[in-house]
């Protein structure tokens, strides 16, 4: 299978540790997954709201570039990008009117799309394609004793037509990945509850409300860290914790939010600095050190 990597706009910015740890882990696993050249924004949910043909053209350009590069699968670490790209892919396959309109727009960019690309989320590629056995073989520093709450958010698991075989409300793939790294994946109630997503700027009140509930539950079940698989989820859960002085009980306690690729790299014995562990709002180091992990 030939992959192309679609980083999305956050990966070299706010999600820098996700990008850094992905590259380190991919190298350790010997994955051949070059970045898609000249990619553009997927359009996110923003363009879906404003103009559907624009949304499908933006994602469609990335699909067309992938096809032209000879790759069969476009892999993204961002759940928002995953949903936008796959939604466009399905509209281009099944909706002849949208396909015609998008084709006209794509031709302005000198491209056409034949529909051959499959869109994948990085987590799914790790668990299914690389495989848990191959990942387990690379573990040199098992995350023994580390209690993790795996947070999937919304768009990795919903809607069903896009997310395919992931359970819409109780997915387990990340939990299984954490288990082979030696960590204890906890059962909790908010693994697919929304973080507020793109409302972070426009309605910070709403985001704080939603993330407070998620983080309170993670602490209640005894999690040392919350594990994320999306730049937007990670940022919303991490950045607004200082503004959580509501409802009293948990107000002084913070909890670090890390990417699943960072924990993979840590278990593989890779340099914590190269994985980007120092680039968070809530420093994950104390929680990890308390379990004798080298960081």
């Amino acid at each position: 299978m030939s992959y192309a990597f679609y980083p999305g706009c956050a990966l070299s910015a706010s999600a820098l540790p996700y990008g850094m740890s992905f590259r380190e882990v991919a190298r350790a696993l010997g994955m051949d997954i070059p970045e898609l050249e000249d990619w553009n924004c997927c359009g996110a949910t923003c363009f879906q709201t404003l103009d559907e043909v624009s949304a499908i053209s933006l994602s469609g350009r990335n699909l067309a570039l992938t096809e032209r590069s000879g790759s069969q699968e476009l892999v993204t670490p961002c759940s928002g990008c995953f949903a936008a790209l796959e939604k466009a892919n399905q509209h281009l396959a099944h909706d002849s009117l949208l396909r015609t309109q998008a084709a006209a727009a794509l031709s302005e960019a000198g491209l056409s799309y034949g529909g051959s690309v499959r869109v994948r989320h990085l987590l799914d590629v790790m668990v299914k394609d690389v495989g848990l056995d191959a990942i387990k073989e690379k573990v040199t520093q098992p995350l023994t004793g580390l209690k993790v709450a795996c947070y999937y958010g919304c768009l990795l698991t919903r809607p069903h037509a896009i997310a395919r075989d992931a359970h819409p409300e109780y997915p387990v793939s990340m939990d299984r990945l954490m288990a082979v790294l030696g960590a204890e994946a906890l059962d909790w109630s908010y693994k697919t509850q929304c973080c507020g997503a793109s409302l972070a700027l426009a309605r910070p009140d709403m985001v704080t409300r939603l993330t407070t509930r998620i983080l309170d539950n993670a602490r209640e079940v005894g999690a040392d860290v919350v594990v994320a698989a999306c730049p937007l989820c990670q940022t919303n859960l991490d950045a607004y914790q200082g503004e959580h002085a509501v409802n009293g009980s948990q107000e002084n306690k913070t909890i670090p939010i890390v990417y699943f690729t960072e924990l993979m790299g840590l278990a593989f014995g890779l340099s914590p600095r190269a994985l980007g562990f120092d680039k968070h709002f809530r420093d994950p180091a104390p929680a990890l050190r308390s379990h004798s992990l080298v960081i």
């Binding site: 706009c9 956050a10 070299s12 910015a13 706010s14 999600a15 820098l16 000249d38 990619w39 553009n40 924004c41 359009g43 996110a44 949910t45 923003c46 363009f47 879906q48 709201t49 404003l50 103009d51 043909v53 624009s54 053209s57 933006l58 350009r61 309109q101 998008a102 006209a104 727009a105 794509l106 031709s107 302005e108 960019a109 000198g110 919304c154 768009l155 919903r158 809607p159 069903h160 819409p168 409300e169 697919t192 509850q193 929304c194 507020g196 997503a197 793109s198 409302l199 700027l201 426009a202 309605r203 709403m206 409300r209 939603l210 509930r213 950045a239 120092d278 680039k279 709002f281």
Partner: protein, 173 residues
């Protein structure tokens, strides 16, 4: 609206599972099941005037739980778009301002650069809000996670041409 999702909207029998699962229903003036009911009754105006469509976080829990397959979340996105095209803005117009700042930045650069997007958003809403978040911005900048100048994207021109064409079709704004 009636054309695109009309057949699916007609299937709703008001079981309210969408509203029961919605993480922000309690902050809405009308609840998701009421949005669908009003659409069934042809009262699109009332829905377009609501704060509900601007409160929706787009998490697809309603759609995932709907026994009739009504695409409630996609409806909410469409309704926001229709309201904006008709100039029907909510009292606190921060969501439309965000959508304009985001799309404007992508249209200009081909990718989302955070600083121009943030500038566009706060200049069109309330600059004092930006000041509240300055510590966060400074930390991002110190950690190399907020760039003053984004990377140049050579496909920017092609993206602009493509988006112009996408919008130029008949019946679009």
């Amino acid at each position: 609206m009636e054309g695109r999702y009309g057949a699916q909207v007609a299937l709703c029998y008001q079981c309210k599972r969408c509203t029961a699962g919605c993480p922000v229903a309690d902050a809405m003036d009308i609840r998701p099941h009421q949005v669908v009911r009003l659409l069934q009754l042809g009262n699109t105006e009332r829905v377009l005037e609501s704060s509900a469509i601007w409160t929706c976080v787009g998490c697809y829990l309603c759609a995932a739980r709907c026994p009739q397959g009504v695409p409630v979340t996609d409806l909410m996105y469409s309704l926001k778009g229709i309201a904006m095209k008709r100039g029907m803005m909510p009292k606190q117009a921060t969501v439309p301002a965000f959508l304009r700042a985001f799309s404007g930045t992508v249209e200009r650069y081909g990718r989302l650069h955070e600083l121009p997007m943030l500038a566009g958003f706060y200049l069109s809403t309330d600059l004092r809000e930006a000041l509240k978040h300055r510590a966060m911005g400074l930390q991002l900048f110190r950690q190399g996670r907020l760039h003053i100048l984004g990377e140049r994207h050579r496909g920017g021109k092609a993206v602009r041409a493509m988006l112009r064409k996408a919008r130029s079709r008949k019946g679009s704004p």
